[in-house]
Amino acid sequence: MRQFQTSTLEQRKTFDTDFETHPLEVAWASEAIFFVDVEQLDEGSGSLHLKVQISVDGVNWLDEGTIFEPIRGKERAFRRVSHFGGWLRLKGELLESGSLYKATIHLVIKE
């Protein structure tokens, strides 16, 4: 049987500045999917930008190249990643001040 883990990295968490998700060790896995469930709480036009990052040690991070389409309003989305080494996280960026988003972010990993 193949190993499998779904991890709730962030749960109904409110963000008003740039953020990074809880770093998850994924060395045993070969494929992953980030699922995001996002709700914009402010009335502005600032979007939420999410991108995948990898790391050699869980401390120093680099962009992996996978990005989400800019998110506005209420959205659910996912991105698949593979060949990621030992660690994965998402970096979230709010380009306009006053933006406020609530997000639940899952990482689903499989051997």
Partner: protein, 303 residues
Amino acid sequence: MLDYRLDKFQPLKHILCFDDFDNGLCGWTNLMPNYTLDNFGVRDSIVEKTQWGPIMLSSGTFRFSGTHGSMDGIYSLKLATRPVANPYQEPPAPGSISHAIKRLTMHRKPNRLQFEMWYAYTTEQDRSGLSENDIRAFGVSFDMQDAKARNFVGVRYVNSVNGELKKEWQVMQANDVSDNDWAYGTDGDWCKRGVDPMWYGRRYPDGRADGYQFVPDSRQELCYNESDDKINWLYLRLTYDLGERRYVELQSRDKVFDLGQFQPTDVPPYARIEGLLNPVIWIENDSDRRIFLFVDSVVISVD
């Protein structure tokens, strides 16, 4: 043939679990509150329990040394806090604890019950220096219930209190306080005195806490090592007498502490959890950085 992986434990007659995390998560999961209100809401509480740091399978990898691995393989169960902490005497900050739980029930007439694990702990090496003082406490316990009472039976190592090294063991036994006191002076919390001492029960700046008693003469060095990226595997054993409802002993490394003077706190049974037998492991942060507890393997046994 001798199984060396089990030979490093001292199990009682019947082994309930032998969880080597080279084989996966083995049923250990994150602790979450009960999502039973409208829109899957949770009851209000002075302690925010939806944000504890998620657990994972770790390769024990660090920036300079590379992969540490586990005691006899690559993977260990890793409990990882978020980089937040409140002062010791306040309710733990959301995310300042990481907590793993396995959900079992009792299957034989109670006698003794034992929790053993090989583990290591360190801080995230995100800054220079040596960071032992940033780890507040870690521990193991059973959350259990029979027809008479719910009990939390456990121990924790109080490593650091507001940055000052303490390095003493405590055992779960609640002081004679009200449910209101237990919830840091709030009314109507889900929790009753004696339940969830991992985060309930007032704490005091000298390390005392309403959920715990100090084990006498229990100050102990645990081989944190000389750098945050060096981890050493440590042995822990907690034995409890279910029939007598009394602690037996704690073994940490090669030292055995008699716990015969301590008893867990009886709480009136909660609904729908009779027969509960949940082993739990947790670690609590003392500063604004992530800290980690690595568990190579666990044995739960009874006789």
